[in-house]
C-alpha cells in the first residue's frame, strides 16, 4: 500500500473590529442582552436596503496587503440564498466569483482568495428541558447578525495537523497586529475550518476532501485534523472511499461526527447583489492600506535573518509578536549589539529565547514584554558583562535569576554576590591553577602524555576553588601554559 500523505487547506473567518455592522449603522455587540443592537435593516424588514461600511473595506484591504493578495480592480457583492432563522433576509450578502482579494501568500502557504461578507445571527437552541415549552425550539438573537467578516481561503498547501495549527497561529498573529480584529477563537472573532483529504504520496491529484468545523482553539484544530487524517487513512487502507461531508470534532471524546453530507449541498442560487454597487479600490485606498501595515512577522523575521544575522528559527520566534520583537531590539540597541561585534544580535537572541525565557517560565504569571520583568537595559548590561568575560555564563544565569526575582542592577548584583570572574591577568587565577596542577600529578602526567580529557579533573578543581567564577577557557589556557604545552 502506497504511503498516504495528508493535504489540508484552511477556511478562516475573521470578524472585523469596526464600530458598526457591515451593512447598517448598528453597533457591534459583546455579550449584551438579545436584540438590543438591531434596526429594520439588519432585521430585514420590508423595503430596507444595505449600505457598505467604509471601514470594513479599509480593513479588508489591509488584510489583503498583509497577505500579499492581488486586489481586484473591481469586485462586486453577491447574494447567497438560503432559508434559516439566523439569516433574516434569507440571503447572506457575500462575494462570489469576483472577490475583493485574490491570490496571495503568508509564510509557506498560498492564499487562494479573501472576501467580505456579513455574519449570521445567533440561535440559542432550547430543548424540552429548557424553560421554553414545546418540543424543541430556538430563540434568535440578531445582535451578531450583520457583523463584518473577511473570509480567507488558503490553497491546500498544508501537509500535517501541527503545520496547520502553526500556520493558523501565524495568520492569527498577523491579523492581530493589523489591529483590524480581536481574532479570539474562544470568543468567535476568529473561526477556522479545515478541509482535509489524503492521497498517495507524490501524487498530483487531490483526494475527496471533508470539511472540519467548530474547532475553537488551535489545540483542538490540531487534534481534530489529526483525528480526521487518521480516519481517512484507515478508511482508504481498508479499501473504502472518502465521502465529501462536513464533520464536527468533539475534543472531549475525540470523536468526529458528520453534520451533513455535502452531496445534499445547498444550491445557493448566487446572483449579483442589485442593491449595492461595485467596489473599485482606488490607488489612494491601496496606498493607505499598505502604509497602515505595521512590520509583520514574516517581514520582520526576514529582516532579522538578513540584517541581524540570526538563524531562521530564533528569527521566527522573536519576530512573531511585536512586543517580544520590540524588547529584543531594545536589548540589542541598549547593548550596542552589532553584527560582528560583541555582544552580537545572535548572542542577544540566544539569551532572550534561551536563558531569559527559561527564567521567566519559573514564575507563575505570563510575561508581558511590553512591560518587561527585566528591563531591556538591564539585560543588555548583563549580556555585555558575560560577553566581555567579566563574569562567566553560569554566573550570568545566577544574576538573571536575581533580576527576575527582585530586579536591581546587574553590576551591583555581581559585586554583592562576589560573582566577578577571575581574569587571568591579576595572577590570582594563575596561582590557583598552579595549586590545582600540583594537587593532581596523575592528571598532569596524562595531559602531558597526550590525553586531553584528563584536563577535566584539574579544571574541576580550579572551578571548585573559584566557586565557578573562573573563565573556563582561561583556565584551560593556563593549565596548558603551566604544563609547558
Amino acid at each position: 500500500m502506497a504511503e498516504l500523505e495528508a493535504v489540508i487547506g484552511l477556511e478562516i473567518h475573521v470578524q472585523l473590529a469596526t464600530r458598526t455592522k457591515m451593512f447598517c449603522g448598528c453597533e457591534l455587540s459583546f455579550g449584551d442582552e438579545p436584540n438590543v443592537h438591531t434596526c429594520p435593516v439588519c432585521l430585514a424588514h420590508p423595503g430596507v436596503l444595505p449600505t457598505v461600511n467604509e471601514q470594513a473595506i479599509r480593513y479588508a484591504l489591509q488584510i489583503a496587503a498583509a497577505l500579499e493578495c492581488e486586489v481586484a480592480p473591481r469586485s462586486i457583492f453577491h447574494r447567497k440564498n438560503y432559508f434559516y432563522p439566523d439569516s433574516p433576509k434569507a440571503y447572506q450578502i457575500s462575494q462570489y466569483d469576483i472577490p475583493i482579494a485574490g491570490a496571495g501568500k503568508l509564510g509557506d502557504v498560498r492564499i487562494h482568495r479573501a472576501h467580505l461578507e456579513e455574519d449570521a445571527a445567533k440561535m440559542i437552541h432550547v430543548g424540552e428541558s429548557g424553560r421554553i415549552h414545546g418540543s424543541g425550539a430556538s430563540l434568535v438573537d440578531f445582535n451578531r447578525g450583520g457583523t463584518p467578516l473577511v473570509e480567507i481561503v488558503t490553497e491546500p498547501d498544508l501537509r500535517g495537523a501541527a503545520e496547520a495549527a502553526e500556520w493558523a497561529r501565524l495568520l492569527r498573529e498577523t491579523v492581530r497586529q493589523l489591529g483590524v480584529s480581536d481574532v479570539n477563537m474562544e470568543e468567535g472573532s476568529l473561526r477556522v475550518d479545515a478541509n482535509v483529504s489524503v492521497r498517495p504520496a507524490g501524487s498530483e491529484q487531490l483526494g475527496t476532501k471533508t470539511e472540519l468545523k467548530n474547532m475553537n482553539s488551535f489545540r483542538f484544530l490540531q487534534r481534530g485534523v489529526e483525528a480526521e487524517i487518521e480516519r481517512q487513512r484507515e478508511l482508504v487502507a481498508s479499501g473504502g472511499t472518502v465521502t465529501q461531508e462536513t464533520l464536527h470534532f468533539d475534543p472531549r471524546s475525540g470523536q468526529l461526527t458528520s453534520l451533513r453530507s455535502k452531496e445534499e449541498a445547498h444550491d445557493y442560487r448566487y446572483f449579483p447583489e442589485p442593491d449595492l454597487v461595485p467596489l473599485a479600490p482606488t490607488e489612494e485606498m491601496l496606498r493607505e492600506a499598505r502604509e497602515a501595515l505595521p512590520e509583520l512577522p514574516a517581514a520582520r523575521a526576514a529582516r532579522y535573518e538578513g540584517e541581524l544575522g540570526l538563524d531562521p528559527e530564533p528569527a521566527a520566534l522573536l519576530a512573531r509578536e511585536p512586543e517580544v520583537a520590540a524588547y529584543f531590539e531594545a536589548v540589542c540597541e541598549a547593548g550596542g549589539a552589532k553584527v560582528g561585534a560583541e555582544p552580537a544580535p545572535r548572542t542577544v537572541a540566544n539569551w532572550v529565547t534561551g536563558d531569559l525565557t527559561a527564567a521567566l517560565r519559573q514564575r507563575d504569571e505570563d510575561e508581558d514584554f511590553a512591560d518587561p520583568t527585566v528591563p531591556a537595559a538591564s539585560l543588555a548590561t548583563l549580556i555585555g558583562l558575560v560577553a566581555a568575560k567579566k563574569i562567566s555564563h553560569g554566573s550570568g544565569k545566577q544574576v538573571l535569576a536575581v533580576l527576575v526575582e527582585e530586579g536591581g542592577d546587574p553590576e551591583a548584583i555581581v559585586e554583592r554576590e562576589g560573582l566577578a570572574q577571575m581574569a587571568g591577568d591579576d595572577g590570582e587565577l594563575a596561582g590557583i591553577v598552579a595549586a590545582a596542577v600540583a594537587a593532581n600529578p596523575d592528571a598532569a602526567e596524562k595531559i602531558k602524555a597526550g590525553n586531553p580529557k584528563a584536563i577535566g579533573a584539574i579544571v574541576g578543581a580550579v572551578m571548585k576553588e573559584t566557586k565557578g567564577r573562573a573563565d573556563g577557557g582561561e583556565v584551560n589556557r593556563l593549565i596548558q601554559e603551566q604544563l609547558g604545552l
Binding site: 429594520p40 432585521l43 430585514a44 424588514h45 420590508p46 423595503g47 430596507v48 436596503l49 444595505p50 449600505t51 457598505v52 447574494r79 440564498n81 432559508f83 432563522p85 433574516p88 433576509k89 434569507a90 440571503y91 434568535v140 444550491d267 442560487r269 448566487y270 446572483f271 442589485p274 442593491d275 449595492l276 454597487v277
Partner: protein, 487 residues
C-alpha cells in the same frame, strides 16, 4: 367635491401658498372623497382630517395617495398581500418623507397587485380595483389603486411604483399621466422590493405639470439607498410650447405586433399631432426590444424570489404552522400568505437562478438586457425620444385575462424595454378608443421615452404634446373627476 376637485395640484398648491385656499379645507374635502371610495382603490385612508397639520413647501397642503408598497410608519402597509396583513412598519419610506418635507401629506394607502406583480390589479389579496371609466373593467396594474384614485376623483395625485410598466400602463388605462423616472433618480429605501434592479417610484397625476411638481420633490440621492443618484439640476415646471427641432423615433420592431385597432388609430393620430407641432417622426430600430418580455419575466421573478424570501413568519407579518417544525412553518406561512401569481413568479425565479440553469436563464436574460440598453443608446444618437403606444389595448374586462398569465404578461410589451434599460418614460392620455369587442370609448395612453436622466427634456416635450392633444377638451366632461361617470 365640486370646484376643489377640479384643481390640479399645481393650481391648488399655488392658491394655498397665496393664502387663497385653506389647506385644511382642501385636505378635508379630499379625505371625504377618499372615504367614499367605491372602486376599492384604497386599503387605508386617513380617518380624521383634523389630525392633518398645515405645512409649507412646494407641495404645501397637498394630499397624496400612496401605493401600499411604500412603508409608512405606524400605518398599515401590506403590499397587497395577506402575508403582511396588519403589519405596521417601524419607519417611513424616503420617497414619502420627501413628499412630507415638501409639505404634502399621505391621504391614504392604495390597493395594488400583490407585491407589485400584475398588470390589472386583480392579484390583490384585498380584492380587485375597478376602473372609474367602466367599473366592469380593470384599471391596470400593479399601481391600479393609485391610478383609479386619481382618475376617479379620490385623490388629487398619487405615487406608485413601476418595475415593468406598473405606473405607465394603469395611467394609460385610466386616462391620466404616469411617469417612470430613470432608475436611480428616486430612492428605493422603504419601497417594498419586488425586482431590485427594475423597481422605481413615480408620480401618477392629472397632467404633466403635476407630474413634474411631484418628481421635483421625490428625486434625490439618499444615503440609505446605494443605487440612488437623483437628477442633476433638479426639475422645474415645463413650459415648452411646441415640438420644433425635436425628433421622435418609432421602433420598427415594436409596431409590428398585435395592437388593438383603436389604440393604433390613436397612436397614428398622435404622431400626426407631433408633426403638426413641428416635431419630426423617424423610424428607429430596437432589434432586441421584442425579447424584452422574455428577459423581464426571467430577471424580475429571479430577483423577486430572493426579495420575498424574507417573508418567513419569524420576525413580523403572518406566521402559520408554528406548531410544527421549522420547515413546516416556512412552507405553511408562505403557502397561505402568498397568492397564486406571487407563487408562480417565485417558482419561475428560483428556477432561473438555480445551478445548471443560471447561465441559460438569468445570465442570458441579463445579456438581452445589455443589448436592449445598447439599442436605445444607438437610437438616441439619431432621435431625441422613442415613442410607442403605452399598452396594446384599452382597459380589458375583469376576469378576461386571469386564466392566462402569459397573455397578461404581454400587456407589458411596450413598457418593459424602458424598464430593462433603466431609462425614463412617461405615459400621457392621447385620446379615446373603442375596445376590440366594441362598446364605450376608453382612454388610450401614448408613451414617450428619453435617455437616462433627461427627465426635464422629457417633461417639456410631454407638456407641449399634452397641450397640443387637448385630451381635456376631448374627454374632459367624461372624466370621472369632472363628475362624468366615465363609461
Amino acid at each position: 367635491m365640486g370646484e376643489l376637485g377640479q384643481l390640479s395640484v399645481a393650481e391648488a398648491a399655488a392658491r394655498i401658498a397665496a393664502g387663497e385656499l385653506s389647506a385644511a379645507e382642501y385636505f378635508e374635502a379630499w379625505q371625504a372623497a377618499a372615504a367614499g371610495d367605491e372602486l376599492n382603490a384604497y386599503l387605508w385612508s386617513v380617518e380624521n382630517a383634523a389630525d392633518y397639520e398645515v405645512e409649507q413647501g412646494p407641495l404645501g397642503g397637498i394630499p397624496v395617495a400612496v401605493k401600499d408598497i411604500f412603508c409608512t410608519e405606524g400605518t398599515p402597509t401590506t403590499a397587497g398581500s395577506r402575508i403582511l396583513e396588519g403589519y405596521e412598519p417601524p419607519y417611513t419610506a424616503t420617497a414619502v418623507r420627501r413628499l412630507d418635507a415638501a409639505g404634502a401629506r399621505v391621504l391614504g394607502k392604495t390597493n395594488m397587485d400583490e407585491f407589485a406583480m400584475g398588470s390589472s390589479n386583480e392579484n390583490s389579496a384585498y380584492g380587485p380595483v375597478l376602473n372609474p371609466w367602466d367599473r366592469g373593467r380593470v384599471p391596470g396594474g400593479s399601481s391600479g389603486g393609485s391610478a383609479a384614485a386619481v382618475a376617479g376623483g379620490l385623490a388629487p395625485c398619487a405615487i406608485g411604483t413601476d418595475t415593468g410598466g406598473s405606473i405607465r400602463q394603469p395611467a394609460a388605462l385610466c386616462g391620466i399621466v404616469g411617469l417612470k423616472p430613470t432608475y436611480g433618480s428616486i430612492s428605493r429605501y422603504g419601497m417594498i422590493a419586488f425586482a431590485s434592479s427594475l423597481d422605481q417610484c413615480g408620480p401618477l397625476t392629472r397632467d404633466v405639470t403635476d407630474a413634474a411638481l411631484l418628481l421635483a420633490a421625490l428625486q434625490g440621492r439618499d444615503p440609505c439607498d446605494s443605487t440612488s443618484v437623483g437628477i442633476e439640476g433638479g426639475i422645474v415646471a415645463p413650459s415648452r410650447e411646441d415640438l420644433k427641432g425635436l425628433r421622435f423615433g418609432v421602433p420598427a420592431e415594436l409596431s409590428r405586433d398585435a395592437i388593438d385597432a383603436g389604440v393604433r388609430a390613436s397612436f397614428e393620430a398622435t404622431l400626426a399631432r407631433i408633426e403638426a407641432l413641428g416635431g419630426e417622426i423617424a423610424e428607429v430600430s430596437l432589434p432586441s426590444a421584442e425579447h424584452g418580455i422574455s428577459a423581464y419575466y426571467v430577471i424580475a421573478p429571479a430577483e423577486a424570489s430572493s426579495n420575498l424570501a424574507r417573508y418567513d413568519g419569524v420576525r413580523y407579518g403572518m406566521r402559520r404552522g408554528g406548531g410544527g417544525d421549522l420547515v413546516e412553518m416556512y412552507e405553511t406561512t408562505r403557502a397561505e400568505g402568498f397568492g397564486p401569481e406571487v407563487k408562480r413568479r417565485i417558482m419561475l425565479g428560483t428556477y432561473a437562478l438555480s445551478s445548471g440553469y443560471y447561465d441559460a436563464y438569468y445570465g442570458q436574460a441579463q445579456k438581452v438586457r445589455t443589448r436592449i440598453a445598447e439599442d436605445f443608446t444607438t437610437a438616441f444618437g439619431a432621435v431625441d425620444f422613442v415613442v410607442t403606444p403605452t399598452s396594446p389595448s384599452v382597459a380589458f374586462g375583469l376576469g378576461e385575462k386571469t386564466d392566462d398569465p402569459l397573455s397578461m404578461y404581454l400587456n407589458d410589451f411596450f413598457t418593459v424595454p424602458m424598464s430593462l434599460a433603466g431609462i425614463p418614460a412617461i405615459s400621457i392620455p392621447s385620446g379615446l378608443a373603442q375596445p376590440e369587442g366594441g362598446g364605450d370609448e376608453l382612454p388610450v395612453g401614448f408613451q414617450i421615452a428619453a435617455p437616462a436622466f433627461a427627465e426635464q427634456k422629457l417633461l417639456e416635450a410631454a407638456y407641449a404634446l399634452e397641450q397640443g392633444i387637448g385630451f381635456e377638451q376631448e374627454a374632459g366632461s367624461r372624466r370621472p373627476w369632472n363628475g362624468g361617470s366615465g363609461g
